[in-house]
Each structure stands twice: as structure tokens, then as C-alpha cells.
Symmetry: C2
Subunit: 325 residues, 2 copies
């Protein structure tokens, strides 16, 4: 786990934007498992983060000063603003995206639907997983931000949806509130045997957020032609030395051959150009009450390190967001 | 390794075909790594083989008695005829396929090009691997029947081809005879570092015949958007207890996510309906001298168990075929 002592707190005068830049006041910080990955001593989805630089993190905020025509003062934007109260960001390229008017949505729900979580769930499931009506979708970390959205999109597409989560309470939420067909508590139930029983013809789509033993259990239960969506591997992100000493992987990857299946990774950022399509659907489904977003709000940037660990100790449910004070 | 004592030898009168069946005299037996997989105590690509039944194996032979209109006496056919001199096979369904007239080809070369090896190499590389001109293709077990064909098809498609094989002699054959751009002897060279050096922008297609540590080395060196073709996992087929005690898999599967890559399995038999397309190309390339097939012929069915082990001890090169006496 990351320790609070791994972080240092600095105060300095709020800087002014240079040409082409904007100054954003950060208001809501998204805390994601990938943040821990970004702390690895090797390049991951982003180049290695140098010690002493501002911790990376996706956040939503308001433009308070602008020297970029694309973003006027008052614009609400999202981007990798970092764990800080104010961020200087280039208004060019794809560093920021503008949040359209949020109707009847809290800022937290808005940034979850219309941000990286929405992109990962929507395109990860639909483009990489390619679920068809009547198929069985299994999703791990199912009570998490991405997992809970993936399961609900699967239901909307006519799939039988099995969630895997880490407590009876989370499983109850998935079943009773979100409408998952069933849920497995991996902390108390034998996942391999439960999957075998719950998916008698095998898993068609496994949306994997965790890796580790659950991936092995899923691979052991694939249907012919299955798709494994490699969204992330929460189970290894806390491995201190990073990719250099990772624990071994599943011993049954051969099942990809035996079951003519594929395992495919993706990054939400690959779909930025198609974001509009996802956001329209997600907002629509949410407005119709067919897609629920659960928000877990933590107050104050000082809580960010502790919040990060809550993604790994199982105490978080839904989307974890730090509200800056 | 399979032991000779795992096999028993029976003689019995040659049976006569029933309605819809043909009697085939087996002449050339293909010995493939997958044969060892078929001996596992669990279902694999085929249902578990009962002790005491004829060992499965793909072979080519001549129809010597027929009660099926589709196959007249004298037809040359291929199919899962088993490790036996004569086989009774249904002429219906897809159990057999007919060999067209082989012009200027030995039977061994013919069955290699126009059989499961050709299908696996052609569709595995082109359909699952989807190589593009200018990309880097790495193939393991590159001096094997499938691997050597895959590498040559890659060259024909304009790829840079790196082979991984188990001796300096095999590597020399790949480079000097088959035209591979380069080859790595995994028994004496550090594969991870060699791949890093030889594939500076990363591997675009990794055609995996072996699994194990070489798969880990390949995953560590993927380019963005890479395709891993999971053709087989030679390195685990001799694991006595089968899938129940398989060694752990690669610890860096997360790279599929970080590099937005996919790993996909397939079986040659999935492409039986499109066999004509593959065989036409393969025969054509071979006739033009652009696709070499190396045959390693062993004399006599009694040698089959020993031949099987030669696929795993590194002493075989090219396609291993037993000529029945």
C-alpha cells in the first residue's frame, strides 16, 4: 500500500498561465487504482513519475485564468490535473476535455459518467468485450466504479451478468440495486466452483479489473470464443518493486487456445476521439434510471493517500472522489 | 516425457467398413506437440482419451475399402486416423479430407502444406496475428513445422522476422536457408535482452508455440497494439498431471493492457471450411521456391513414442513424420 509518508505537501503561490495555457482550480479529484500503478518505478501507461513532482491524478475543475482561446474563464474541464489545488495545463492537444452542462447531475456523477470511468466501461465492454445478447458476462471488482458500470451496460445489452466483489454487502448491492443476475463474494466463496455452477456453458466475456487468482478462475471457465477484457490488474498494483518482482500469472493461459478465446488490453484514452458517443449513451441511460452511479466522496486533498488505499483494502464501493476543500 | 511403456501394441484382424464408413491404410503419421496434450487426463482440444483406446494422431493414407460414396477406393485422405496401420473412419462429416493430386511433392511435404500444419501457420499468422508489411514478427519454436512456415509467410508479407529456436544449427538454418532476418538461440542467449535489442520498437506479432519463460520475454517487449498468437504451449505439454498442476504463467500479462495488445488462441480445425484458400497459397509459394518445407522422416510406427519425445528434447527440426512400414 502507498503510505502517507510517501507523500509530501507543498504550498506555493498560485502560478499564472503562460501563452496557450490555462489555470484550473481543481474541485473534484478522481481516485483510481491506476494512480497506484503510476507510482511504479518503471514506465506504465505514463512515463515513470519523478520523485518530487506533483502526483498525477484525473480531476475536474474550473478555468480561473486562461491564455488559450479554446477555454474561457469559467469553463468546467477535466484532465490529468494532479493532486493539487491549482493546475497549469496546456489548452492545446488533448490534455483537457470540457464538461458540457450537467443537468440534474452532481459534479461527481457527471465526471464519472463523462470521464475516464465512462470511457473505460463503455468502450472496454462494447469494443473489446463485444458482448451479445444472451451471453454471460462476468466482471471482477464489480462494485468498483468501472465494474459496476460495466455490469449495468451488460444488462442493457441483454447479457446475463455475474459480478465478483469483496463483501456480502457489495454483492447484495449488485444484485438488489443494480440488477446483476448474481454476484460472488470472492472473500468467502470458492470462485472457481461458483463460476462453474453459475456459468454452465462458460463465460463469454470476462471483464477483468484485478488479475491474480480470479483471472485464473475465469480462464478455467471460458466458453469457446470468449473475450477477456484486460482493463487492469488491481491485484498487483501494490507490488512495491513494480514490474521487476511481479507475482506469477495464471497457469492456465493455454485455455485461450483450447477455448479459442482472446485476452485484450486497452486504455480509456485510446477512445478519447469517440467520447461523445459513449457520453451520450451513458447520460441517456442514467437519465432513464437504467444506469446507476454510486459515489463515495471523501473530503479534502489531505485524504487522497488514504482514499487511494481504500481502493485496495475493499472498503470502497462505487466511484471514489476527493472533494477539494 | 511420454514413455514407451505408456504405450501398448495390439494386433487384430483388419476390420471391414460399415455403412457410411471407409477403411484407410495409414501411410504417413504426423507427430505433433499436440499429441502429448491429447494424453492429458483432462479434456483439451479433444475429449480425454480413454486408456486402452487407439492413440489419436493425424495421418495420411489410402482408402482401401469404402462404403461411402464420397470416398472411392484409391482416394488419398488425411484425418485423425490414429496410431495404427488401418483405420475405420466415417466418410460423413469432417473426419477426413481428401488430398488432391500432389504434383512434384513428396507425400510428407504434401501433407504438411495441405494439412493441419498449413492451416495453423496460414490462418494463425494471417487471421489471428494480422501482420502488416514492415512490422516485426517473432516466432517461437521457429525451427518446428508450424514455426518455420509462419516465419516464411511473415517474410512473404513483408515482415521483419525473428525466430527463436533451440540450437545454433537451427538458428543458422532459419537465417541462411529460410531467410529469417535474425534468430535467437534461447538455450545460450538471454532472450529478453536479445529481443529488446533486435526489436527496438517492440514486437508487433508474437507467434507463440511454447508458452513459458519465452512468452514472458515476449510480453515484456510488445509494441503498442501487438498481437500474441496463442498457437500452443509446448513448454507445458509434458506436465504429467495435466492442467491440475500446471506451472505458473507469465507475471507480466498486465503488459497486454499497458501496450493495448491482445493474446488470442485458435485451433487449426476452426479453419477447415476455408482450407482451399490456404492450400492454394501455400502450394503456390512452395512451387515458386519461396516457402520451404523441411521433413524429418522416422521409419515405422514402433518409433512413434520416441518420435513424439523428439519434439520436446530439441532434436527435431522441421516436420516430424512417421512412415508406416
Amino acid at each position: 500500500m502507498a503510505r502517507e509518508s510517501d507523500f509530501d505537501w507543498h504550498e506555493e503561490p498560485v502560478p499564472l498561465p503562460g501563452p496557450g495555457q490555462v489555470l484550473v482550480r481543481c474541485e473534484y479529484l478522481s481516485v483510481d487504482p491506476g494512480n497506484r500503478l503510476w507510482m511504479w518505478p518503471t514506465d506504465t501507461t505514463v512515463p515513470v513519475q519523478a520523485i518530487g513532482t506533483v502526483m498525477r491524478g484525473i480531476a475536474m475543475g474550473t478555468v480561473v485564468a486562461s491564455r488559450c482561446a479554446a477555454y474561457a474563464e469559467g469553463c468546467v474541464v477535466q484532465g490529468v490535473l494532479g493532486w493539487q489545488d491549482y493546475a497549469i495545463v496546456s489548452g492545446e492537444g488533448h490534455a483537457l476535455w470540457r464538461m458540457r452542462q450537467a443537468e440534474r447531475l452532481t459534479p461527481q456523477t457527471h465526471m464519472t459518467l463523462c470521464g475516464h470511468v465512462g470511457l473505460a466501461a463503455y468502450f472496454g465492454l462494447l469494443e473489446i468485450g463485444q458482448p451479445r445478447a444472451g451471453e454471460t458476462l462476468v466482471v471482477s471488482s464489480a462494485a468498483g466504479a468501472v465494474g459496476s458500470m460495466v455490469g449495468q451496460i451488460g444488462l442493457l445489452r441483454g447479457c446475463r451478468v455475474v459480478g465478483i466483489a469483496g463483501s456480502a454487502q457489495k454483492c447484495r448491492w449488485l444484485r438488489e440495486e443494480l440488477g446483476f443476475d448474481t454476484a460472488i463474494d470472492y472473500k468467502t466463496e470458492p470462485v472457481f466452483h461458483r463460476l462453474r455452477k453459475l456459468c454452465p456453458v462458460g463465460i463469454d466475456v470476462y471483464f477483468d479489473n484485478v488479475g491474480g487468482p480470479l483471472l485464473e478462475d475465469a480462464l478455467a471457465n471460458l466458453n469457446v470464443g470468449a473475450r477477456v477484457v484486460a482493463c487492469g490488474m488491481l491485484s498487483v498494483y501494490n507490488d512495491i518493486a513494480g514490474v521487476l518482482t511481479l507475482p506469477p500469472g495464471p497457469n492456465n493461459l493455454l485455455n485461450l487456445t483450447l477455448r479459442r478465446s482472446r485476452m485484450q488490453g486497452f486504455l480509456y484514452s485510446d477512445y478519447r476521439a469517440r467520447a461523445k458517443e459513449a457520453f451520450e449513451h451513458l447520460l441517456d441511460w442514467h437519465a432513464q434510471g437504467r444506469l446507476q452511479v454510486r459515489i463515495d466522496t471523501i473530503e479534502g486533498l489531505r485524504q487522497a493517500p488514504r482514499a487511494l488505499n481504500r481502493l485496495f483494502d475493499g472498503s470502497s464501493c462505487g466511484k471514489l472522489i476527493v472533494r477539494m476543500s
